[in-house]
């Protein structure tokens, strides 16, 4: 940091007052309304895209990127809907949300002529059910709702989601702040489908959730590893990569994939309908599929990666770590969130309200 730069920064803050006046008279010329100036507005999950990678993109292309973050698919959907069209150029919905946004005509088709790096994506990740033929989306990262255990603090041998409901775990768990994940997990613990729609079965799920309520002290989707690292919680159901990061900090922490088969998710790059910066957005997505850049991402956020070239570059240590790269048989047993009818979905959110009351 040069002194001159520092001084300039200080000066610019001091001059804010003057700038304020110009906004006052010019009626907000600096308002970044819908990026007409070519600035890219991207809306991504918290703790998912490293700042260093964004800075690298800005440096290489000269395109400024404004990053906003969200904590759940529903957060994102709600905000994209309530903003005026084109407020965000790029979003990062999970599997089921891609499907939902396609059916609501909220996404723009991708121009694959401009996405040569798509060839780096593994074949098994292409052509997903939620977006046949990858018309609107390309896969980024994914993972599982894995069980995290601090073996030093928990004596019980935890093997399944059902074990998390054990009364010995009272007041010890952290789970994702995500209603589909938590209720789905409870369905699985009872031997039901992850996306159960049978109303009688859902009543049993509701009963079962009462047991969970006693055990959970923290709902956190953003950085659930924090509570594990700090010792405030000693077990739970969190993103697999968050378990991996907690394991790096604390050797007592272990990852467990539930016997019932885990909750799975895969997040994707999409461009919103009527994005005013379509070309820059495509450039960004292509940039994010470059193996070298994905390596930078994986070093910071070790999720299941669709970019096979990047996985190869990360080497054996990465691909053999079950938390960073969930094994194939785990993936096979897992289930994704599916879109439900609105009356069932209402039931799910009602159960969620009850859980959190």
């Amino acid at each position: 940091m040069s002194r001159g730069k520092l001084f300039k920064r200080a000066l610019s803050i001091a001059l804010t007052g003057a700038m304020a006046l110009s906004v006052f008279t010019g009626c907000g010329g600096s308002d970044s309304s819908a990026g007409k100036n070519g600035e890219l507005n991207i809306f991504v999950w918290t703790e998912y895209v490293p700042d260093s990678v964004i800075k690298k993109f800005e440096k290489e292309t000269g395109i400024k990127v404004n990053v906003s973050t969200y904590s759940s698919n529903e957060d994102m959907l709600s905000k994209v809907k309530s903003e005026s069209a084109g407020a965000y150029d790029i979003v990062q919905p999970s599997d089921y949300m891609v499907e939902q946004m396609i059916s609501q005509n909220m996404l723009e088709k991708l121009d694959f002529d401009k996405l040569p790096n798509f060839s780096n994506i593994g074949d098994s990740y292409k052509n997903p059910d939620y977006d046949p033929g990858n018309v609107y989306s390309v896969p980024y990262l994914g993972g599982a709702g894995a069980i995290v255990v601090n073996t030093k603090k928990i004596d019980k041998d935890i093997k399944s989601y059902a074990d998390l409901f054990d009364s010995s775990l009272e007041g010890k768990l952290v789970v994702l702040d995500d209603f589909r994940a938590v209720i789905g997990m409870t369905n699985k613990a009872l031997g039901y489908d992850f996306n159960e729609t049978d109303k009688d079965k859902l009543k049993k799920t509701e009963e079962k959730l009462k047991q969970l309520k006693k055990n959970v002290v923290l709902y956190d989707s953003d950085s659930p590893k924090s509570a594990i690292i700090s010792g405030d919680c000693s077990a739970g159901m969190i993103w697999s990569a968050e378990v991996a990061m907690a394991m790096d900090e604390n050797p007592d922490v272990e990852v467990v994939y539930p016997e019932e088969g885990p909750y799975l998710f895969f997040d994707n790059w999409c461009i919103t309908k009527d994005s005013p910066n379509y070309d820059n957005a495509i450039k960004f997505i292509n940039f994010m599929m470059d193996p070298d850049n994905m390596v930078l991402v994986l070093k910071e956020f070790p999720y299941l990666c669709a970019n096979t070239k990047a996985i190869e570059e990360m080497g054996e240590e990465y691909s053999s770590n079950p938390a960073k790269n969930p094994p194939e048989d785990v993936i096979k047993k897992g289930s994704y969130v599916k879109n439900l009818d609105s009356d069932i979905l209402d039931k799910y959110s009602e159960m969620w309200t009850k859980l959190k009351k």
Binding site: S71, E74, S230, D232, S349, K356, K357
Partner: protein, 292 residues
Amino acid sequence: MKKKRSKHEFRANTLPAMVTVGPMVLLLIFLVVAPLIFVAVMSFCQTDQYYNVVYKFTAENYSKLISPDYLKIYGQSILIALLTTIVCIIIGYPFAYIIARCKSKKKKLLYMLVIVPFWTNSLIRIYGWRTFLGSNGWLNSVLQNLHIIKEPVDFLYKTGTTVLGMVYCLIPFMILPLYTAIEKLDGSLLEASSDLGAKPYKTFLEVIIPLTSGGIFSGSIMVFIPCLGYFFVSNILGGGNTDMIGNLIERQFKSANNWPLGAALSIILIVVTLILVKIYQKLGGDMEDLGV
């Protein structure tokens, strides 16, 4: 003649009134009244399968909100707000009394020291509590080093922690009106009371408290009502376990996507607020006191 007078009236009263009060009235209409009316309208609307708002009448949102689950959340919110208010009075009253009756020159400094912490962003201060109270936090380390406890105690993510955070955020709104009320007390009155042989506690109960009740009432209103809406405190310190009305509203607008339901919840919150303010006025509270 009449015309001339009305012209004068226009220049002397109507025109300046329009120029001075006009901008404020426009602001109130467009940024206060219109949005609230709109919320009221929306609370009677439906949603389609994708949770887009459909402008078609329904009372379903309200019938949903009187189910036992929601009632429990209201009860819980009111309980937390009440606890917060009581704790604020218990701590705030003696504190305000001591600094307001302090005769030294330091009085002003003592008063400023109450306000200084609030120049730092409130979220980061709440987060500071999380760091302080965590399993590896300062408090647990100190207690462990003093051998008072062996294993770290879980202070975080309890209802009590939420109350602590609320008290922390809102206590100046209790201390400041109390300070003003106590400062206005006439010292000679207190002397008279003790000269007449009243025991100190009797003077306190029968003279001081009634004379400063205005401060207690306005402080209570200013603590209780915001408490119902401070969703971030229960998010950060409560772990998302004890939802309050504020959390419910926030969720409807930010993630559950059910705006009409959130609007109905807001209307309920407005009604609760208005009832409390009415009670406050009935008790002889002055609306002016709520302004600062």
